[in-house]
């Protein structure tokens, strides 16, 4: 939900409360005004009637004159009270409905005669009043909401424009791109503060990222060089004459460990680079072709283990990827299927619509297969592998948002990869 919509909902809710309370006040106020008005009107009518009686005797011919709005009666003696205001209900002559009236009763001696006079005015019905108020309120409320909606539309277009620009810039921001974020100036303090803060933050992140990147590169460089020295010195040592079996096996063991260390280092560097998204170039990769290439490269390995390869290509799949990463991805998947296979086992490769499934036979895993994509987790702890092949696969798939699944069922390992 947009911020404006959210605030508006609160506005509307609050105004609904205000309008309700306002309605009650309106009602009371109207009532008061109408009352006041009635009283004034009745008073002026009283004066008029008195004047008429005084000036014209014709009225005096009647002992009694009565209608719904006026009632004049001659009485014998003047009572003590002189003037009362009260509400009464009378039947309407024409329609026969009961109608509320306010009446002013007073007693007056005019030209020597005592009169009881009642003047009345029809009351506005409460129901009508409430109805009127509600209609008015509803109209006002609708007008308010309509104006709010129009205003918001304009606001979000104009005032919030810089904010959406900032958002767009941040969305397209790539941490490993050298250029810094730049925002256009905004006249709104909050937004200009926000853009300054983001500029500062990204500059700092960029700097840190570059430091980190440099550190990774440098660390790898620094580690590879001593490794190269160890490896080369061991090689020279091997060439010296007169080595006995024990010495040879010491050198071989040291050399194997050095190799392993250097491969580990390389794998970790690749992993770091993938996770830092340092592979930009994108090519159109034919998955079928790439898999076939790797299979033929690995042919000897497959033959020596007497593994049967079953291919079922239902589709020719093209995907947009970095070519180097694509090489690593499919190589790792196939090498993995060969390495963790039994001799006389099988590998089955299925390419369906946007889908690759590589299954292979293998020994039951000694470790939990749920963690197979974590670094240094091996299906079988005794295995010589680095435990970085599948984490690299995972990292590449994550980079391209390709869903990756892993299963072990009835002695068959399956990796399923979906192309997007």
């Amino acid at each position: 939900m947009r911020l404006l919509t959210k605030t508006n909902l609160y506005f509307v809710a609050a105004s609904l409360v205000v309008f309700c309370i306002g309605g009650v006040f309106f009602y009371i106020l109207f009532q008061l005004i109408i009352d006041n008005d009635l009283t004034t009107k009745l008073q002026s009518r009283k004066a008029y009637v008195v004047k008429q009686i005084t000036e014209s005797d014709s009225l005096l011919l009647y002992q009694k004159f009565s209608s719904n709005t006026i009632n004049i009666e001659q009485i014998a003696a003047m009572p003590y009270e002189t003037e009362t205001v009260s509400d009464t209900v009378l039947r309407d002559d024409v329609e026969g409905k009961l109608i509320g009236y306010r009446q002013l009763s007073f007693y007056k001696n005019i030209n020597g005669r005592n009169y009881k006079i009642q003047v009345r005015r029809m009351l506005v019905e409460t129901q009508d009043l409430i109805q009127g108020v509600i209609i008015l309120e509803a109209f006002l409320f609708l007008a308010f909401v309509a104006i709010l909606a129009v205003l918001n539309n304009q606001l979000s277009r104009r005032i919030w424009k810089p904010f959406y620009l900032i958002l767009e810039t941040i969305n397209t921001y790539k941490i490993d791109h050298a250029e810094h974020l730049r925002f256009s100036k905004s006249s709104i303090t909050e937004f200009s503060e926000l853009s300054v803060a983001i500029e500062k933050m990204t500059t700092k992140i960029n700097k840190e990222f570059n430091n980190q990147k440099e550190f990774t590169e440098n660390a790898s460089h620094e580690i590879q060089t001593p490794l190269a020295i160890i490896k080369n010195k061991l090689e020279l040592l091997l060439q010296t004459s007169g080595l006995d079996k024990d010495q040879l096996s010491l050198i071989t063991a040291a050399s194997a460990a050095t190799n392993r260390l250097s491969k580990l280092n390389e794998a970790l560097i690749i992993l770091a680079k993938i996770e830092n998204q340092q592979f930009h170039a994108v090519g159109n990769i034919c998955v079928n072709e790439l898999i076939d290439n790797h299979l033929s490269n690995l042919d000897e390995l497959i033959k020596i283990k007497e593994i049967k390869v079953r291919k079922s290509y239902q589709e020719i799949i093209y995907t947009k990827m970095n070519p180097f990463l694509a090489e690593i991805l499919f190589e790792n998947l196939i090498v993995n299927a060969i390495k963790h296979n039994n001799s006389l086992g099988f590998i089955s490769i299925t390419l369906g619509p946007k889908l690759l499934i590589i299954s292979n036979s293998g020994n039951n895993p000694t470790n939990n297969t749920d963690k197979i994509f974590q670094r240094f987790v091996k299906g079988n702890q005794k295995s010589q592998s680095l435990g970085l092949g599948l984490p690299i696969v995972k990292a590449i798939c994550d980079t391209y948002l390709m869903p990756l699944g892993y299963r072990f069922e009835n002695g068959i390992y399956s990796i399923e990869l979906q192309f997007t």
């Binding site: 790898s220 020295i229 080369n232 040879l248 071989t252 560097i269 490269n297 690995l298 390995l301 020596i304």
Partner: protein
């Protein structure tokens, strides 16, 4: 054959130098870029081996310098950075080969020999060891005048052996030379054994002496001794 090694790491430089000298090359050294440039301007080398990360600048600058001289000196770039960009950059600029640290000295030696063959003999070349003669362009192998049919891998293996005569070659270095990084050592040792014994058999059957000596637990040595 004269080789210039430009590498800022003293011990690595020494190791490379020692191995190459034992192969009979005349080696000179430089430890930074200005010294390297100075030397290639003054003297003529058959091959230059240069690190990328050098004090005073990138070793890739040497490629441009050699190009400017229109020299036929071969150049091999060695780098600790296995980044594809560097590799492509280096090869694009005209480096003949690219090796990532850490490498096997035997591999470097094989690359130098292959480079020199391509440069000096314009590819029309033969590699000979006693009665064995290899023609890398046509992948032909001739022993005492008769043709021996070898598979591609066996041919590569033999060429690698002959490029490093009298040297102990570890199984790891052979695996890496033949299959690159594909293989993890343990499995692949078995088929090195297969390839080596097939090669041996074919050579002996065609009248060659057995030059392949097994160095127990380590690897092999190709020697006439």
């Amino acid at each position: 054959m004269k080789i210039l090694i430009i590498e800022d790491e003293r011990e690595l430089l020494n190791a490379i130098k020692e191995y190459l000298q034992s192969e009979g090359y005349l080696c000179e050294e430089a430890m930074d870029l200005p010294e390297g440039i100075h030397k290639i301007q003054r003297y003529k080398y058959d091959c230059v081996i240069a690190d990328i990360g050098l004090p005073g600048g990138s070793g890739l600058k040497l490629i441009a310098e050699l190009k400017a001289q229109q020299s036929d000196t071969g150049i091999i770039i060695i780098s600790a950075r296995n980044s594809l960009d560097d590799k492509i950059n280096g090869l694009d600029l005209g480096s003949d080969d690219y090796l990532t640290k850490p490498f096997h000295l035997s591999e470097l030696n094989a690359r130098i020999k292959s480079l020199l063959r391509r440069r000096k003999f314009r590819g029309n070349n033969e590699v000979a060891f006693k009665e064995i003669c290899l023609m890398p362009d046509t992948l032909r192998t001739i022993v005492k005048g008769s043709n021996v049919v070898l598979t591609k891998k066996e041919f590569d293996l033999l060429l690698y052996f002959i490029s490093n005569p009298n040297k102990v070659l570890t199984k790891e270095s052979i695996v890496e030379h033949l299959w690159g990084d594909y293989m993890d050592s343990t499995d692949s040792f078995d088929f090195i054994y297969t390839h080596v014994s097939n090669l041996r058999k074919k050579l002996i059957d065609n009248g060659s002496n057995d030059y392949v000596k097994t160095v127990y637990g380590v690897g092999y040595k190709f020697t006439a001794e």
